[in-house]
Amino acid sequence: MDMAIQLTGIEKSRNGKIRVRAKSKSNTAIKLLIFVLLAISVIALLTFDYKDIDLGKAIADTFANIKTVFLAPKLSRGTLADILYQLLVTFCLGALSTVFGMILAFFCSLLCAQNIADKRIANVVKSIVAFVRAVPTVLWVLIFAISAGLGSVAAVLGLTFHSFAYLTKVYAEAIEEIDSGTIEALRASGAGFWQIITQAILPSSLSYMVAWTFMRFEINFTNAVAMGAAAGAGGIGFNLFMAGSFYFDLREMGALTYIVVIAVVLLEMLSTKIKSKAK
């Protein structure tokens, strides 16, 4: 077999067919990964505790509820103006946390981008950022709520923390992509740290940063809706929570959902536009 390969240079499988796809490390790795993931999923489904649920009834009920929520929406508590104001509050929660996250992330990314930062400081900053990112947003909000009380302050701080960690990573990557020659040339001509930042780093990565920041704003908006529901942070999320878990008013939930969905779709369209311009 070895001889055959050497002679012809063509790899053949056991039954003599010519191999079409080359064996490579990455192909085997992907196959292994897919197998492992499927195995975990099957094990997961077999070991979950379903508490003797009546699946047929539950599914039928779900469809009935989906029908009520999405096909018969109706606002009964509060006027449309009230709800739109709550939407604006959610929007502002997202905007505030994006602004704070952006400012913090900008300075931290300067400390941890490989081409301009000190290696030791970069490693420390990167570990802190990894820690901050690993804690789910809702847990940050609740941790801040211990000292600030439930409300907009805790929500904004919690959302800020996660956006800060996310944006630091993105900004650092943007800075690392800058041609090292530009920075070197400025350094050689005697430019200081801030001059390098304002004349080399910002001009070449600003549009990229703006696009990612806006994308983060989109995420923060949906997160702000969730925080309103799960952590009592106010805004339209709180209305949703009250309609769903307190009044059990499906039709109200439907109306609120539509308002949120329309807002998210509009943001997504704007974000796509900004992204295509930034490229």
Binding site: A29, S41, A44, L93, A134, I146, L240
Partner: protein, 263 residues
């Protein structure tokens, strides 16, 4: 010389405009949400003191470690299972939606709209909606995460396939390959790394979101945290945060390693 000054002047104006817009957003948003900077800054020491105090578990918290770990395992399994099933469905669905396979432009449009719908209805809404019919069951969280993951992955897969596979599918079509052959010989081999990368990303995201969903549906690790938090047993709650951090960092590390091997 004159041109250079121009560039510098333009830069200064750009920075000033960006700074002004940011300041405007800050003041407007702070006014509407009644956010006070002083309160925000004042909350920092308290929060970090809380973390520092409660990262050291007390006896009660240590006795709860097995329970916490089993819930954490359940959350991890749930996130993987949800992502894998959503990925399988989303892949089949995205085959109908890509321009690459050219099945039918109307079906393609419909697929995109359905995906956008599932993606944009917040998972909070799905969770509360499913609570009515499924109750406090693990399936509530499973389905809530499934719907949003499905919507997100469908869009991601459609974009990946359109970007990577269109030229080789065109070539296969020209040689007379049928739909099945195009999928297995063209789309899957060329877009698999992109798809796997998205799946890994969604597993990480879903572990984090399942905490939130757990709080709303009274299941999993989110419920456990919420319970300890509301009973003011902060060392136990702090222990959950600590384990969560370890879990997420480990999973992030594993998926980064895998990405490096397969890319």
């Amino acid at each position: 010389m004159k041109k250079k000054e121009n560039i510098l002047a333009v830069r200064k104006v750009t920075y000033a405009v960006v700074a002004a817009v940011i300041a405007l957003i800050y003041f407007g948003a702070a006014y509407i949400t009644e956010f006070k900077m002083s309160e925000g800054i004042a909350a920092f020491p308290g929060a970090f003191l809380w973390i520092a105090e409660n990262l050291m578990p007390d006896e009660q918290a240590i006795s709860r470690i097995p329970k916490i770990l089993s819930k954490l395992l359940e959350t991890t399994l749930l996130s993987v299972a949800v992502t894998v099933f959503a990925a399988v469905c989303a892949f089949l669905f995205s085959l109908l939606g890509t321009r690459t396979t050219k099945i039918n432009p109307i079906i393609g449009k419909a697929v995109r709209i359905v995906a956008a719908f599932f993606r944009n209805v917040p998972d909070v809404v799905w969770a509360m909606l499913l609570m009515f019919s499924f109750g406090q069951n693990i399936l509530t969280g499973f389905l809530a995460l499934f719907f949003t993951t499905f919507g997100l992955l469908t869009r991601a897969f459609i974009e990946t396939i359109d970007e990577v596979s269109s030229s080789c599918v065109e070539a296969l079509n020209a040689t007379g390959a049928n739909f099945i052959q195009c999928v297995f010989q063209g789309i899957i081999p060329s877009s698999l790394t992109g798809i796997v990368s998205w799946v890994l990303y969604m597993i990480e995201t879903n572990i984090r979101s399942s905490t939130l969903i757990g709080m709303l549906t009274a299941t999993g690790i989110g419920y456990l945290f919420d319970m300890y938090y509301k009973m003011l047993q902060f060392p136990s709650a702090g222990l959950i945060v600590l384990f969560m951090v370890i879990l997420v960092i480990v999973i992030e590390g594993i998926s980064n390693k895998i990405r490096r091997v397969i890319m």
